[in-house]
Symmetry: C2
Subunit: 213 residues, 2 copies
């Protein structure tokens, strides 16, 4: 990782301390060469790797540190069978053959943890009783954390297969009996078989998606 100044950090010659920049290999691993996979190589995924993914992802920023993401790692054949009937037809094979499928979810009771997670203010009071704000905050921040989770899994050498093609109500009935936690998306975790990847889809150009004002 070179410690050259970031592009655009020019300050007219003065020495400004700036962060390092990720290596080209790192950018490839996380973004430029990483792909969504549907076919997997053999190999199990042990608990310590799942814990390492979460321990990275949890460090990403959320609003008032609210941290609403909850994850169920579905690994046993019995639990996979509980998931199967909720899957869209096109997602069954890739999910049932993946060593682990993460149910990335969010806790609509997240604000009960705020006195510990954000002790600087009475942040619990911002949410209690405001169902629209609870839902929006849980969804936005739980989804941000879900993306940190995908990037963290890639950083630790796994390939991901995120999916929203499933019956959320059925997953919630099967895995979240308390009705407080809601499924957001699924993410297969494994080592992908790169020989079975289709060509990469195009992306919108900067000028199509962004403006500078």
């Amino acid at each position: 990782m070179p410690s050259r100044p970031a592009p655009g950090a020019g300050d007219g010659g003065k020495e400004t301390p700036v962060n390092k920049i990720l290596s080209d290999e790192g950018l490839d691993l996380l973004f430029r060469q990483a792909r969504t996979h549907s076919h997997w190589l053999e190999g199990e995924i042990v608990d310590v790797l799942l814990e390492a993914i979460y321990d990275l992802a949890k460090m990403g920023p959320t609003s008032a540190n609210c941290s609403p993401m909850r994850v169920v790692f579905v690994r046993s054949p019995e639990a996979k069978e509980r998931l199967r009937p909720a899957l869209d037809a096109g997602n069954v094979d890739k999910t049932m053959t993946a060593p682990v499928t993460a149910i990335v979810a969010y806790d609509t009771g997240f604000y009960e943890h705020l006195p510990r997670l954000f002790p600087h203010a009475d942040a619990r009071a911002w949410f209690a009783g405001n169902e629209a704000l609870i839902q929006e905050t849980a969804m936005r921040n739980g989804t941000l954390q879900g993306a940190y989770f995908i990037i963290a899994a890639r950083a630790l050498g796994l390939d991901c297969g995120p999916m929203s093609g499933f019956d959320k109500e059925a997953v919630d009935r099967a895995f979240f009996r308390d009705r407080r936690v809601k499924s957001n998306f699924l993410c297969n975790l494994a080592h992908g078989d790169a020989d079975k990847l289709p060509p990469r889809g195009p992306r919108l150009d900067f000028a199509e998606a962004c403006q500078v004002v």
Copy 2:
């Protein structure tokens, strides 16, 4: 970046090709040492760096490659003043002093691009006329992309200050006149002043947020 096999990739002695793992320095830069900042060092941010952030973030996965994120980089004093009245009081100083504030938004007309972005099926027809699905898909995937954007900015040496404390309706009136694009969150971009960081907030442990079944 060591090319050792990923933990958990054990396959009983056979050689399985697996991805590399991000270096410790990379994990620190993106997750373990990165912090949300509110105070900034001097330094402008040039267009090429904004384009580089987007060009990484756009590669992250979205459902059916739907890519709904749109970004307005607010940099000129005039545009900053248009943003100011929409900010919560606690977010004014840090936003007005940041060299760039990104309005991370999503396009509720994203499905019009699907014939190009996802040519394998008539994906446009899944969405057209289904407002609830459009909103949910735009929000979920636009937020995933927003997290890729934060990680990409960190990978390129910037610090981020993401915020949801602002009047979304006011921002949309000021920056998205067509009413098709909706603001999601704001993100200050700059080199942060590490001397002014408060202690880091705690996170939920693996056992509090995750289960393996």
